[in-house]
């Protein structure tokens, strides 16, 4: 069953990434590097570790998938106060070791950063072979091609037992847009209001599986797509 193929040339990886087979492109979204540093800069004692861990996971995933390019579907960084010299050095080292092109489709958080590291190529959106387009905000999807996006940090709520539920980061496929789960480990999630024709996929051990609609909580509060990224919450 691994890796899950939504359509022939697109795979969903259990690490929370998408892989385009024709161009060997690895796509992840919402890493939010430097988030804990931003907290510390404001006097909130959150320990360092997330950025290094996420870059390490990303490196391993790129190696494992044998990607020939890496696309970040927005929000690589959290905010400018989180971009410390240490982080810049770690990122430069990461790209050096990786040795494949890295393209950032700028997200709303990236857009607020005055100067992105020079070695990063940043674009507003990216057209790929086989009629795919990478954007950050699913709201910016238009046209007939298949969009791959992030921004929402989608989480699905699954009722489990009496008055308890599971919250799992998920891939959400709606209309012609795939929304990736947030890749960063210090990012929250927003429970998605699953609509009748949506398809929801979650990682289960080494696989990605599609959730049968019957498992999904239909009573979860409706936040509307516009505010989906705003509610801070987490997976279980």
């Amino acid at each position: 069953m691994f890796p899950f193929q939504l359509i022939p040339s697109l795979k969903l990886l259990p690490e929370g990434a998408a892989f385009l087979t024709i161009s060997s492109t690895l796509i992840v979204a919402d890493i939010h590097l430097g988030k804990s540093a931003a907290f510390r800069a404001k006097g909130l004692p959150v320990p360092e570790g997330d950025s290094a861990r996420d870059l390490g996971r990303l490196f391993d995933l790129a190696e494992k998938s044998k990607a020939s390019q890496l696309v970040i579907a927005g929000d690589l960084f959290h905010c400018s106060s989180g971009i410390t010299p240490e982080l810049e050095a770690a990122l430069a080292d990461f790209m050096n070791r990786l040795g494949i092109p890295v393209i950032l489709v700028a997200g709303n958080h990236d857009a607020k950063i005055p100067a992105l590291p020079a070695e990063l190529r940043s674009v507003p959106h990216l057209d790929m072979a086989d009629n795919f387009r990478v954007v950050h905000d699913p709201g910016h999807a238009n046209g007939g091609c298949l969009h791959i996006s992030g921004h929402w940090h989608p989480v699905v709520k699954i009722p489990d037992g009496k008055r308890t539920s599971l919250r799992l980061p998920c891939f959400l496929f709606r209309d012609n847009t795939l929304v990736l789960p947030a890749f960063g480990s210090f990012t929250g999630g927003a429970v998605v209001d699953v609509k009748p024709r949506d398809r929801v996929f979650v990682a289960l051990r080494e696989q990605v599986v599609e959730l049968p609609p019957v498992l999904i909580d239909q009573n979860s509060p409706s936040y509307g797509s516009g505010s989906a990224g705003r509610r801070s919450s987490t997976d279980t």
Binding site: S36, A37, A38, F39, R40, A41, K42, G43, L44, P45, V46, P47, E48, G49, D50, R53, H78, C79, T84, E86, H109, I158, D160, G161, K162, R163, T164, L166, L168, S185, F186, T187, G188, V202, L204, R205, V209, P212, V214, L215, N219, S220, P221, S222, S232, S233, T234, D235, T236
Partner: protein, 807 residues
């Protein structure tokens, strides 16, 4: 100084001082601190307040008395009670209140100059500690009075009070601290907790006035048709209405906010003409709604107020001549406290009428009366070392005036709560506020407090502002404001409740039948229900309070036939007779275990009489251990008397087996495994993260977009800390707190040790007995599934697949 200076005040009123008042003044004049234990409405205000007044009648000498109250709603009443003697003994002296409700103009005035007597709350006192000139303004302080200390004891607010008092004692070693407390099982410990290292020379004074209390119970007319379980209990509503009719003004207490809404509607349906004479009061109502009820009671314009514990405290409602308690009193102190809301004047009688919601509560009321008459009441156990609060307090102090570490450590350790603070904990706390708190984990670029000339100080203006906004320990769930389209606010409900409703749905809230118009961004707009119909009663989460140990024992003794004959026991006798015939009556000297079969499989019922939280833990523990051996899944339910296990098969009734399962070996590990404590601790971390300043508190109604980047959920923080700084002491605190809160771990451990040596009575029953039935019928109990998310999801998917395969 002597009592002679006070007597004229009494003489002018034609009063005679009580001996406890004389004793308090005398101790005060000798420079002593202490705890005064007296029922409400017995002149305890005069006992503690007149000493400092008489000692220095000069009204212009700055702030001389600080009066701490646990509830800001009490501040206005307290001021009224203080101003009269103040005017008589220190003419020209002023008394003002500084609480969260104080208008900005008055607050600004108090910032410049403090009055003779300042009434405030622990939170506001903490806040004032952040003002650098506060100690100067208090230079004439002679006495701090802590009202209703029993309410603060055992809570983080109580510890916050201890820390504030330690600060004041450091500044002014001669100040006297007096606590006022209702009856407690551990008064000495309460005094030690209040006074810390100033305990030695202090005194305890008891106003042994033997306040007369009458505890009656409404007896159901047909006990055979009275339910064996349930908690709503409106079956007796018309009898209750008759009682309300007879009295002048009634306070009707319920155990939950939802029950308040239900009873309000029920009484209105029975007596529509009471429409304007009936009000309600609970913690989720808007302040204006609550004030309407309070003023109506005080002014005598209301016939009855339906309330929760939000009206348990202080406020003097003289017109109230009857208190009704719906459902289990849960504890003896609680029953006494509620009874004391009537007959508030010295010498008058307090009367409370118990209304059972199911048959066994008749026994509870009889038992509560037995214990109340001999004043055998519960203890409140003080908290130890809540480190989240310590780091908050250290920042508070550092903002006010820079402190030197060793001196501050001595000050903190002078409190009862932190007397056992270890080197590791202290070093960690200092680290947390300055460089992150761990030698192993990295906190680069973090700084809150700086070391300057050997002293810790905080001077970043934004940090200071943010800290001031977040002082305190009360964290509430995100609340949805309920209001009419014209902006009239009714109160708040939980998001989980309102989000289940659709526009057009009917709901019952704040005593009104409403229709939801829309729900957007934490505001639910409603209008009066245009049509008749059953609306959804607003419900709130939160644990049901367990029956106290003391009341459980009293119930067990009643079931053993002890105690004077009573109407309650006579009424419930037919049901007890069935229990005796089919099984036997349980008690707390031996453990009764019943085994029965039904369509669902096998059931075991155990009755340790230890309160529902302990039973929840015991049930989970036994289910975990039995299913580990049998492989069968086991469903559990619990109430205050016992718990049940249900399984398709494999629940054998053998004393040896059961004793094995009830062993105290590996108790903690098994509990951690079966209660999914990791998940629970993550939830508990919300409060700790908030108190310790790990998450930011946005002031209500203000959305600061610049702070959006710093929003994070406490559960996520818990994971990050757990991953990169697992030694962080706040994580351990979170695990400890949840075990105590969710399972009453201390009590559970004691119970399981007691069970080891108890005789067991094993009974095979044909039918579900009256004791077993409520446990069997309780299918609403929430269970927390064990296992991590992956395991749970896999189980669900495989169940679905099996179902699909069979179809």
């Amino acid at each position: 100084m002597s009592n002679a200076s006070i007597r004229p005040f009494f003489a002018a009123k034609g009063w005679q001082p009580f001996s406890f008042q004389e004793a308090t003044w005398e101790a005060y004049f000798k420079g002593k601190s202490g705890l005064l234990h007296a029922p409400t409405g017995q002149g305890k205000t005069l006992a503690v307040y007149l000493g400092p007044l008489a000692e220095n009648p000069n009204p212009a000498a700055g702030c001389q008395v600080l009066w701490l109250t646990p509830l800001r709603a009490l501040a206005a009443d307290t001021l009224r009670a203080l101003r009269e003697p103040l005017a008589a003994l220190a003419p020209g002296g002023e008394a003002e209140a500084r609480t969260g409700d104080t208008p900005a103009a008055l607050r600004a005035r108090l910032r410049k100059k403090l009055p003779h007597t300042l009434v405030t709350t622990p939170e506001s006192l903490s806040l004032m500690l952040t003002h650098e000139d506060f100690s100067e303004k208090l230079s004439n302080l002679r006495c701090v009075i802590v009202d209703e200390w029993h309410e603060l004891l055992g809570t983080k607010r109580g510890v916050q009070t201890e820390l504030c008092l330690a600060r004041l004692r450091t500044w002014f070693p001669a100040i006297r601290v007096w606590g006022l407390s209702a009856t407690l099982g551990n008064l000495t410990e309460a005094r030690r907790s209040l006074l810390g290292n100033a305990f030695e020379k202090s005194v305890e004074i008891t106003a042994d006035l033997n306040k007369a209390i009458i505890i009656d119970t409404l007896i159901p007319k047909e006990i055979e048709r009275f339910p064996w379980s349930g908690h709503i209990g409106t079956r007796l509503a018309s009898q209750v209405a008759d009682e309300i009719e007879k009295a002048n003004a009634t306070l009707l207490f319920t155990n939950t906010r939802s029950q308040t809404e239900i009873w309000f509607q029920e009484l209105l349906a029975i007596r529509p003409r009471w429409k304007d004479k009936l009000a309600m009061h609970h913690g989720s109502l808007d302040r204006a709604e609550r004030e309407h009820a309070e003023n109506g009671l005080r002014g005598g314009t209301l016939k009855c107020v339906v309330a929760t514990s939000s009206l348990d405290l202080g406020v003097d409602f003289s017109p109230v001549d009857q208190v009704i308690q719906i459902g289990s009193p849960k504890g003896i102190a609680r029953l006494l406290q509620r009874a004391g809301r009537s007959g508030h004047q010295p010498g008058s009688v307090s009367r409370i009428v118990g209304v059972p919601t199911h048959a066994f509560e008749l026994v509870e009321f009889a038992a509560a009366r037995d214990a109340a008459l001999v004043r055998h009441v519960e203890s409140r156990i003080p908290l130890e070392k809540p480190l989240d609060l310590l780091v908050q307090h250290l920042i508070t102090c550092a903002i006010g005036c820079p402190f030197e570490a060793e001196a501050m450590r001595r000050e903190v350790q002078s409190t009862h709560a932190f007397s056992g603070l270890t080197d590791i904990e202290w070093e960690w706390a200092l680290g947390f506020i300055s460089n992150g708190g761990s030698a192993l984990a990295a906190y680069p670029h973090y700084q809150k407090a700086r070391l300057e000339n050997g002293c810790y100080t905080v001077d970043d203006k934004r940090l200071i502002t943010r800290h001031r906004l977040s002082i305190g320990t009360i964290s509430s769930d995100p609340a949805v404001s309920v209001r009419f389209a014209n902006g009239h606010k009714l109160g708040t409900v939980e998001e989980s409740f309102i989000s289940r409703l659709k526009p057009g749905s009917l709901l019952v809230f704040a005593g009104r039948q409403l229709m939801l118009v829309r729900f957007r961004e934490c505001i639910a707009t409603v209008k009066p229900a245009p049509r008749k119909g059953r609306g959804h009663i607003a419900i709130w989460g939160g644990n049901k309070m367990p029956l106290s140990s003391e009341l459980s024992h009293a119930v067990a003794r009643r079931l053993q036939g002890e105690g004077a004959p009573s109407a309650e026991m006579a009424a419930v006798e037919p049901i007890l007779a069935i229990q005796r015939k089919w099984s036997r009556l349980p008690d707390d000297e031996c453990l009764l275990i019943e085994h029965a079969h039904s369509r669902e499989g096998e059931h075991l019922f155990l009755y340790p009489f230890a309160g529902r939280l302990v039973h929840e833990g015991l049930a989970a523990l036994l289910a975990f251990r039995i299913s580990r051996a049998s492989g069968e899944s086991i469903h559990t339910t619990q109430n205050d008397y016992g718990f049940s296990l249900t399984s398709k098969r494999g629940l054998v009734l053998s004393e040896n087996h059961l004793r094995d399962y009830l062993t105290s070996e590996n108790l903690l590990d098994d509990l951690v495994a079966c209660m999914n404590t990791a998940e629970l601790a993550r939830r508990q971390f919300r409060e700790i993260a908030r108190v310790s300043g790990l998450v930011m508190q946005t002031p209500p109604g203000q959305k600061d977009r610049s702070q959006r980047e710093l929003q994070v959920s406490a559960t996520l923080l818990y994971e990050v800390l757990d991953r990169y700084d697992p030694e962080n002491l706040l994580l351990a605190q979170s695990r400890r707190e949840i075990m105590e809160k969710q399972l009453e771990l201390t009590r559970l451990t004691a119970v399981i040790h007691r069970l080891q040596s108890m005789t067991m009575h094993l009974v095979e029953t044909e039918n579900l007995t009256p004791m077993a039935f409520p446990l069997w019928a309780d299918r609403l109990s929430a269970t927390l599934p064990a296992g991590d998310a992956t395991t749970r999801l896999e189980a669900m998917l495989s169940t679905l697949n099996q179902a699909a395969a069979q179809a």
